[in-house]
């Protein structure tokens, strides 16, 4: 049985439908990432799980019990905010001890037990030498650990993380991502992680929930949603540079830049679709070459190709080439709904 069950959840602020009918089950021990552009309702969804926001409609159950009407402290959740929200006037020890002291009576804790729990959690996150410091005296990475320690010290059923890595610089972020994943795996806690960064989402999530306009677009493993997007939004939101989309009279079809290669490199040209490709500009990115150009008959739709630098293929600007995409790498979408549709039969496809 799933640990968190969300059904028919809606949150409307006046006329804005921040969350517009979300159904979601979260299993125990899972690392679930909610991914979407800003304003898609992902933070509102998380705040409703935390109990900081009252749903307009729908229900949330944690551990089988309906918590929709309960305040945060009765839900067994804890949260790490984007800003870390450390209490600036308290030292690290008191910051971590705060939730324990606040729930002292419910959890039947005495002073000694609180000290023990704070110290062991601090050791786990390797911040035990910082307990006397104030947040102001800590680096970004240390603050993040303190925030996680404070969230973990109560042993919550669900740990909610609201873009906790976005305040770190790029170098630290990769490191923190790795540590966070290790930590989640070893503690086996159920984590819900909100982000707009697809690399974070792909790297961390056991499952990813892609959201847009208050609705869930797709749920699946990172590979699943990347390789098998449910609709055009998911297809173009994931991947950098994003998927090329071309429209032919009946439908729209897309292929990722890394699948769009010179015909000479294609191993099975007979199972591929061929394009006349005009190369306008080439960016050398080190490991890859990013090619900007146009496919014949689609001169108004910029089409990108990502060609590995180590393959021999000379690509001169302002020249025409033959490029190919494997049939299996082409996704088709309905023109009106944007939903994935099966590939039309070969004979129906107008070749460009």
């Amino acid at each position: 049985m799933s640990l968190v069950q969300i059904s028919g959840l809606k949150k409307h602020f006046d006329t804005v439908r921040a969350v517009d009918g979300v159904d979601l089950d979260i299993s125990e021990g899972e690392f679930l990432v909610i991914l979407g552009p800003s304003g898609c309702g992902k933070t509102t969804l998380m705040r409703m799980i935390a109990g900081l926001e009252k749903p307009t409609e729908g229900a949330i159950a944690i551990g089988g019990a309906d918590v929709t009407a309960l305040p945060p402290r009765k839900r067994g959740v804890s949260m790490v905010f984007q800003s870390y929200a450390l209490y600036p006037h308290m030292n690290v020890f008191n910051n971590i001890a705060f939730p324990l002291r606040a729930q002292r009576r419910e959890k039947k804790l005495d002073k000694r037990m609180i000290r023990q729990k704070v110290e062991s959690t601090a050791r786990l996150l390797e911040i035990d030498m910082l307990l006397d410091r104030r947040p102001r005296q800590l680096s970004g990475g240390q603050r993040q650990r303190v925030a996680i320690a404070r969230a973990m010290v109560t042993q919550p059923a669900v740990l909610l993380l609201d873009e906790p890595l976005s305040n770190l610089d790029a170098k630290l972020r990769a490191n923190a991502r790795d540590e966070l994943k290790d930590f989640q795996r070893s503690s086996n806690i159920t984590a819900v992680f909100v982000t707009h960064d697809q690399i974070e989402a792909m790297g961390l999530g056991d499952r990813i929930v892609v959201m847009s306009e208050g609705k869930i677009q797709q749920i699946g493993s990172p590979q699943h949603i990347y390789d098998d997007p449910a609709n055009e939004f998911v297809a173009t939101f994931l991947g950098s540079p994003s998927m090329n989309i071309l429209s032919v009279d009946g439908c729209r079809f897309g292929f990722r830049p890394e699948h769009f290669l010179p015909k000479t490199l294609s191993d099975k040209p007979e199972n591929s679709r061929l394009f006349h490709y005009y190369v306008k500009r080439v960016e050398y990115l080190g490991s890859d070459r990013l090619v900007y150009g146009y496919v014949q008959d689609h001169e108004d739709e910029l089409t990108l190709a990502k060609v590995p630098s180590n393959v021999r293929a000379s690509l001169d600007v302002e020249s025409d080439y033959e490029f190919a995409v494997r049939d299996s790498d082409i996704k088709y979408f309905d023109k009106q709904t944007g939903l994935r549709i099966p590939a039309p039969k070969r004979s129906e496809v107008t070749y460009s």
């Binding site: 402290r73 959740v77 929200a85």
Partner: protein, 307 residues
């Protein structure tokens, strides 16, 4: 050869900076600095309204003032009134600031009504209170009389009046009450600004951490607005310490000397009594005290902020 563009005086930061500072400096020099220096000059002289020659007399005025029993009582009364009223001002301002930062219908109107005591000119408000606390026609007395607290068989007094401004105890209580009434709005507004500057993330975090209203208030909100609270306290203490309008309108310092405060006494001796030199000396006694207070509080505030 590099092209030299013509330099305008306004492109120079020093020139622009000096220009922007000038009005404030001028204001301070003319309205604060000059009278202050004049008071010092008067304090060390024998100037009176009748004889405006400035003759240096050393500390004679200060000695005479310090040896005066009335002055000592006035000084003590001023400190006592200030301290007692600050306690209530801080208490009420905190409670009201918390109420006014919650969401409720009619909040805007409640805030508006509440700010009025502060927005009303002091002398005008005091004339209103003079009527409210009138010895014979006080509406408060009237209500107490109608409800049986006053008059024959009343619990508070057998009399028909309480003599708000005429009995020593009630006069002091009245003056302190009116000061609290007048100063609480400003302190509240300052504290409200402080409370609304606390990041919502911190308060949300406290809620998720399981903290309830009182814990969040005492361990999160109040410590975080402490520096601002000190500033509010400083404002109201200094305003009140130097104030004379309230007692001047309400009691003229009476009955006897029970509500005479430093500002009023200085005015009465210096302007009404014509002894400018001694009036100046009296007011100068407040200076080292206020200075020390201001330095102490500003340091406390900045220390609280830096951690």
């Amino acid at each position: 050869m590099s092209l030299r563009l013509p330099a305008f005086p306004f492109d120079n930061r020093r020139v622009v900076g000096a220009l922007f500072l000038a009005p404030a400096l001028l204001y301070i020099l003319l309205i604060v600095g000059f009278p202050f220096l004049l008071a010092i000059a008067f304090g060390f002289s024998d100037v009176t309204v009748g004889n405006t020659d400035l003759n240096f007399v050393g500390f004679r005025n200060f000695e005479a003032v310090w040896d005066n029993a009335i002055f000592r009582q006035v000084f003590e009364t001023t400190i006592r009134f200030t301290l007692i009223s600050q306690v209530f001002i801080l208490l009420f301002a905190n409670i009201l600031a918390i109420i006014f930062t919650q969401d409720f219908t009619g909040k805007w109107f409640a805030r508006f009504i509440f700010i009025l005591p502060w927005a009303t000119p002091v002398s005008l408000a005091m004339i209103g209170w003079l009527w409210m606390l009138d010895t014979k026609y006080s509406p408060i007395d009237y209500l107490l009389l109608q409800t049986g607290f006053l008059g024959p068989g009343g619990i508070l007094s057998k009399d028909r009046n309480l003599f708000w401004l005429a009995s020593p105890d009630l006069a002091q209580i009245s003056v302190i009450f009116v000061q609290v009434w007048r100063m609480t709005p400003l302190a509240t507004v300052i504290l409200m600004a402080g409370l609304s500057s606390i990041p919502t993330d911190i308060l949300d975090q406290a809620e998720v951490d399981g903290s309830r209203f009182m814990r969040t208030l005492l361990l999160i909100k109040l410590p975080l607005i402490l520096p601002i609270m000190v500033i509010a306290l400083l404002f109201s203490m200094i305003t009140m310490f130097g104030d004379m309008t309230v007692v001047y309108v309400l009691t003229r310092g009476g009955p006897v000397d029970y509500t005479r405060v430093l500002g009023l006494y200085s005015f009465q001796v210096g302007i009404e009594g014509g002894n400018l030199a001694q009036g100046a000396a009296i007011s100068l006694f407040a200076f080292p005290l206020l200075l020390a207070m201001a330095i102490f509080m500003l340091r406390t505030a900045s220390r609280a902020e830096v951690r």
